[in-house]
Symmetry: C2
Subunit: 396 residues, 2 copies
Amino acid sequence: MTAPARPAPIQLCAGELVDVPRGLKGVVVTETRIGDVRGAEGFYHYREFSAIELAERCSLEQVWYLMFSGHLPTRSEQASFTEKIAPLRQLPKELRALLPAIARTGQHFLPLDGLRTALSLACSMRGMRPWLDISSEELRADALFATAIVPTLLAALYRLRQGLDPIEPAADLGTAENYLYMIRGERPTPQHARAVEKYMISTIDHGFNASTFTGRVIAGTGADLGACLVGAIGALSGPLHGGAPSRALDTLDAIGSPENIDAWVRPRVAAGERMMGFGHAVYKTEDPRSRMLRETARALGGDLVDFAIEVERRVVRILAEMKPGRQLYTNVEFFAGVVMHLCGLPREMFTPTFASSRVIGWAAHVLEQAAEAKIIRPSARYVGPPPPVPVPDPAD
Amino acid sequence: MTAPARPAPIQLCAGELVDVPRGLKGVVVTETRIGDVRGAEGFYHYREFSAIELAERCSLEQVWYLMFSGHLPTRSEQASFTEKIAPLRQLPKELRALLPAIARTGQHFLPLDGLRTALSLACSMRGMRPWLDISSEELRADALFATAIVPTLLAALYRLRQGLDPIEPAADLGTAENYLYMIRGERPTPQHARAVEKYMISTIDHGFNASTFTGRVIAGTGADLGACLVGAIGALSGPLHGGAPSRALDTLDAIGSPENIDAWVRPRVAAGERMMGFGHAVYKTEDPRSRMLRETARALGGDLVDFAIEVERRVVRILAEMKPGRQLYTNVEFFAGVVMHLCGLPREMFTPTFASSRVIGWAAHVLEQAAEAKIIRPSARYVGPPPPVPVPDPAD
């Protein structure tokens, strides 16, 4: 695996400025030991392990531990980690009292907006302080608290919005299993729990995406962990980032049956529309998450899975024909939507489920940024009319 | 005024990476028409106008209008803007009902954390949607709503935490005057109102600081305006950014009287401690905000002002002697604390008062970022052990 070409690092004297590409694509802003994405190879990793191999072989708790500590837990470390998490899933009473009002806010149910408010409040109730003012052990404890409570908050917001009572977390269930249980109100089958767990593990981290970067920029100011995660949730709620695994599923619904695929897809591609669930900013090969989730879906089985695989096969071929050289394959969203649907998750909870695992990655990045203790403060180039123009009296 | 030296813009081919300085200092990440800071000249501007001249000559509402629209309002534009703002200052009833619980959250009163939750909720209650899904007029209306309600939220959180009832905003008062009124419960003198108004105008914007950048990174994902502002509030709550004008005032208290200055300051400077209220990352001259606020304080008058001016004079001299070549002067915090104290603002509301004006700058930047519609997604260099290492079975 050869490293991509790299110009010499930019070094600036005091007062010097350098212009970099808009959107910071390809601009290396820091070093990390958390993981990386190799877009050209279709490979990504957490620490030194293939993320996909971790998803195939580990529990969510093992990988969560890995992300926070840098190594996979021994059996006894794992047992004590599991024990530590269980009580942190519980909703504090004062928070529980306010959740119904948060859940019914807004004409449309936007679970990530509800999570933004609820997690902000949960972190304040815990009394989180700027990480600059606390020990690294206290910061780690904050990180565990916040990541453990997110699935509970999301499930409670969902049920309250449905007019249902929130379900108490079950201490004997793993995180993914418990999350499904708290949303649906019945214990999921082991196969469903494991499918969602694999999805969650595979979405914990993925390079320096916009929400992760947001969390680190906020962490750079020394702010409390809650501030960092609440900002990251905001970034994930943007359609250009958090996307919508549900839209890929909507596309399957719209196509309806195999004989409609060409008639539905070709005119849209010709008109320049993006096919939901196809193409990725970083991967120029098959998205490794897509490959894993296709197999996960196949194991769950059923007509929807067969249809999705057929749509994938045909759309990839149509895109190769109509957009030659673009190398467009299914991304994580395409089979994620199918898997989550088959496991009984409602569509409005697809992106929130993503948030419930990604929050582990955000927190790991905040822990790393805190160890660096450096404010992130770039520059912008002013391109308006040159100042100073004297301030005129108000015109009539 | 000559432009600083600048290397050629970095242009990258697909897959190429370039390393830039940590913390992005000197790295130009975008273009802006909102304003700039010229650290070497001790000058900063909003649009094409000197920010200090705007603070001296305009009302907060005029500058607010300028930040959002790009031009100073005519008299009739100003009148209709004022009319539009007045009802937006009111707390929606459902929000009012939840504020007491938010205000009493946490062992210590952290008004910015309360604002983070309250503004998140307020934006959800308004039904804000991702800016990518709405018109630019709707986004502007969201921006006006959020910036108008922040002073009311802060004042209400403060009073509720004191066990007092929130004060209804007064439609006939300007923003700064009304803010002071809602906190103190009595109409401020015109001199106090104007002093705080000048402070607020002078802190609306200041280059690509960490909170402004946070807001723009979140905006890059297409998220709703509330998500952007809530993230920016989180960044401002970090001690390395929002700082603490109150700490400069605490220093004055600790020194106590002119004859103690040398004995208090010299050993601390010798020990490498930072003097609160002195030095700035960007200004290598006197901070223009400090100069204006010194005059504002002088006009308010009194023993504290005389003492502060004497402390400034002596500390600047001691720093020049003990840290030669560092050019350390008072920054915005030093006299801001004095001015806010003299105008009757409690110390815990100093940084929140800063937030109540900076939110206008954040919103202006979000409006500009929205027009650009580009996700901000940098890279990081992985420096951990090389992957893929096979995932081992758990050790005992």
